[in-house]
């Protein structure tokens, strides 16, 4: 057993709460009547629709593309008819432009043929990735092909696969790794070819020993000369899945503030993204399906569901037998960084990793009090910032002075607010400070 690695500074260890879903195999959810596909599912410019109302589309057909700027195309998750090009509820923004498709349940399933990717050039592979609409599934949805074409002066020598899945409750990546280990490893090889590197490390937290085992075997099977893929078990600590923390945990390298991982010769991809890349390159199947963990004590039947992008939360709830009366909070994403939603009409996007239905005893609704300067947030902050000072300054209407405490380095992991004994909404204070402070 290799020694467990982790990042050096800060971090917290919230209750993992993965037991509810960790052992549930990925289950394909039946396609609902209607899908709402939000046009802006990635960082960059949102897609413009390439279809019109009442058009018929087939599964996997492009329905939106980005003409100018950063972005990837959007594909129809199902065959059906474009019902509307309007707006949908959105977890972060109130509403967002979307395409509504009425599903044609009669349509014949689309067949994808396997191709030999090893003969393709890196350029061709990259184009396939872009065409497949691949974005960073674990994170904010950064277009993957951009990430895979690092600046010319950066010397990339390592690929890291992020299988940490440090957020509590979520088990989607865990199940993907268990059930599709070969696809993930194959996806990694594709990425390695695109980047031209021979080293790949897959970081998995030690609370997923079965995944470490399965992935380790899969990696060993393909490893050889010029392709070295190893699994690196990691200590269980939040936010290990954050890019910079993962890089430090596995390689010991520090990414400077405001810089990309390529600055230290590393590219990080999520394991689910690697799997999606495999699908896109080998089968030409674009990204329109997503494994989502549905968990929490507030849902009748927790599950790891493979759902179509655009499926609404309400459909999932119906499929899983409804919610319990104790339900107090619905979160899209993980409990540490996800967004609480007030409506069930929100559709799943490419980056949705989980939907949590939490009851009151799982969340903390204690009202916050004044900072007691215990300094726990300083210890918890993985970036070495001073959340308490930021918050105190914001409260005293001095948000402009917070840049000195590193407010712009904050990626809002929520470790500080998790640990705070005064229950202060530190992330909210940081967001306010970011708005008001000047760099």
């Amino acid at each position: 057993m290799k020694s467990l690695l982790t990042f050096l500074k800060g971090g917290v260890h919230p209750p993992e709460a993965k037991g509810q879903t960790a052992s549930l195999p990925i289950e394909r959810m039946p396609v609902p009547k209607e899908l709402e596909i939000i046009l802006g599912q990635h960082i960059g410019a949102p897609c413009t629709p390439t279809v019109n109302k009442r058009d018929e589309v087939v599964e996997g057909a492009m329905i939106g593309e980005v003409k100018k700027g950063l972005g990837v195309p959007l594909h129809a998750p199902v065959s059906g008819k474009i019902k509307d090009i309007g707006t949908s509820a959105h977890p972060m923004r109130v509403s967002a432009p979307s395409i509504t498709i009425t599903v044609d349940h009669e349509a014949a399933p689309v067949q994808y043929d396997k191709t030999d990717w090893t003969t393709m050039s890196a350029q061709e592979l990259l184009a396939k990735v872009q065409e497949g609409g691949i974005v960073g599934i674990g994170g904010a949805g950064f277009p993957t092909h951009v990430k895979l074409s690092p600046p010319k002066d950066a010397k990339i020598d390592q690929l890291l696969l992020n299988g940490a899945e440090c957020e509590p409750y979520i088990t989607a990546d865990h199940r993907q790794m268990l059930e599709h280990a070969d696809e993930v490893v194959e996806g990694a090889r594709i990425i390695m070819k695109i980047l031209g590197v021979s080293e790949c490390k897959i970081g998995i937290e030690s609370n997923k020993p079965d995944a470490i085992d399965v992935m380790g075997k899969a990696a060993a099977a393909v490893s050889g000369a010029g392709c070295n893929i190893v699994v690196q078990p990691l200590e269980v600590k939040y936010p290990q899945g954050s890019e910079k923390q993962l890089i430090q945990a596995i390689t010991g390298r520090k990414v400077p503030a405001m810089a990309l991982p390529s600055a230290v010769g590393v590219v990080v991809q999520n394991v689910a993204t690697a799997s999606a890349i495999y699908d896109a390159v080998v089968y030409g199947k674009p990204l329109y399906e997503k494994v989502v963990t549905i968990s929490g004590k507030g849902i009748n039947k927790p599950a790891n569901l493979l759902v179509k992008v655009g499926t609404k939360v309400s459909d999932i709830v119906d499929y899983l037998g409804g919610v319990k009366p104790e339900l107090a909070k619905i979160i899209m994403g993980g409990p540490m960084m996800g967004f609480a939603v007030s409506s069930l009409d929100i559709p799943i996007t490419k980056t949705t990793s989980s939907i949590l239905f939490l009851t009151e005893d799982e969340i903390d609704a204690t009202p916050h009090s004044d900072c007691i300067r215990c300094g726990w947030c300083l210890d918890a902050c993985p970036m070495g910032l001073e959340p308490k000072e930021i918050a105190i300054h914001v409260e005293a209407n001095k948000a402009e002075d917070t840049a000195q405490f590193g407010v712009f380095d904050c990626f809002e992991c929520g470790s500080c607010a998790y640990i705070c004994p005064a229950k202060r909404p530190l992330v909210q204070f940081v967001r306010l400070a970011k708005m008001k402070a000047k760099r």
């Binding site: 409804g322 919610v323 540490m336 609480a340």
Partner: protein, 347 residues
């Protein structure tokens, strides 16, 4: 907003708040009450060796602190937070640093200084600059110098506590070990308290005159160790305070160099109480670990200076008060290390 479509959904509003949605189960109240609980064993020992008087003083101190907290918060139109235990803790700590033989009137006045002036005028818990309990003590020491420096009781034989109830015999007043050492010299000290290992053990166990809560090093260390185990405090401040007291006393405490008695320095006076329960106060101490070590060494050095050269036999209370305002300066010097510097900076 559209009503939920699904029939299976009960009709109610979901809580919408900013991430993170799960929080640790530590709360300010939990911390405060735990610290209070850790201070109970020394208090009971104190009742045992000094008599019920100590319990009465502590109770008065706690009640008046809570009362002043309540009144202050009402008067200043702030939410009343007496249940978070911080006023109770201040009350217990303030009682712990006053002699057992004082009038019960003293802690009432001390509470006004500690809670109203030193805490609520600054904005309440979290904004005070000086440790309220110690500010209360400093105020009492300035106001009632005689009582605060002479109302010491000699520890009674373990069972005499019961005869105290029976006969109501007044406790015997005496002087604290440090005061004897300072004013009457080492010879007198040895005559009164003995020397060697038995002295250390009896002092460490708490069988000596002193403030209500400071005598029992053992129970205080156990309480402090529990807090460290609970991760409510870290070892940095207690170790650096006690370590520097021991080292500086060893260097400067005797005739010539390196002649002091480091063990005695740690087990007498309020060193252990101060190190584990006063200096570790979150609000008035630095937050960074390096800063805490520097802060602790500062407290230790000032304590030794006051003990050896100053006007008071014991100096840790003033040492902590003097270091309190410096904690923000220290934090400024020892900012937490950023994850990484800006681009182009040294890696």
């Amino acid at each position: 907003m559209q009503a939920p479509e699904s029939q299976s959904l009960p009709h109610r509003d979901w809580i919408v708040s900013v991430s993170p949605h799960v929080k640790s189960n530590e709360t300010v109240a939990k911390i405060m009450w735990t610290v209070v609980a850790c201070l109970m064993p020394p208090l009971f020992l104190s009742v045992f060796i000094f008599g019920v008087q100590t319990l009465i003083i502590t109770a008065v101190s706690v009640i008046s602190c809570v009362a002043v907290e309540y009144v202050s918060q009402k008067a200043l139109k702030r939410p009343v937070s007496i249940m978070d235990g911080s006023a109770v803790l201040t009350g217990v700590l303030m009682a712990f640093v006053i002699p057992p033989g004082v009038s019960i009137f003293l802690p009432v006045l001390g509470a006004v200084m500690a809670i109203y002036i030193a805490k609520h005028l600054f904005g309440g818990l979290g904004f005070n600059i000086f440790n309220p309990a110690l500010m209360g003590r400093a105020f009492l020491l300035a106001t009632f110098p005689v009582a605060m420096t002479s109302a010491w009781l000699a520890p009674v034989d373990g069972f005499a506590i019961f005869s105290y109830f029976a006969s109501g015999v007044d406790a015997v007043s005496t002087a604290t070990p440090l005061a004897v050492m300072k004013e009457q010299g080492m010879a007198k000290f040895v005559e009164m308290f003995g020397s060697g290992t038995s002295l250390y053990t009896s002092f460490f166990l708490g069988w000596r005159p002193g403030c209500i809560g400071e005598t029992s090093g053992l129970l205080l260390v156990l309480g402090g160790a529990f807090l460290i185990y609970k991760k409510y405090i870290t070892y940095h401040i207690p170790v650096s305070v006690l370590g520097s007291i021991a080292v500086f006393t060893w260097i400067f405490g005797g005739e010539g160099w390196f002649g002091g008695d480091p063990i005695l320095a740690v087990v007498t006076g309020g060193a252990i109480l101060g190190a584990f329960f006063m200096a570790t106060d979150y609000v008035t101490g630095p937050s960074t670990k390096t800063g805490q070590v520097v802060y602790g060494i500062g407290i230790g050095a000032l304590t030794v200076i006051i003990r050896l050269k100053g006007g008071y036999p014991e100096g840790i209370c003033y040492a902590i008060l003097l270091m309190n305002p410096l904690s923000s300066v220290i934090d400024g010097f020892f900012k937490p290390k950023r994850f990484a510097g800006p681009v182009g900076g040294a890696k």
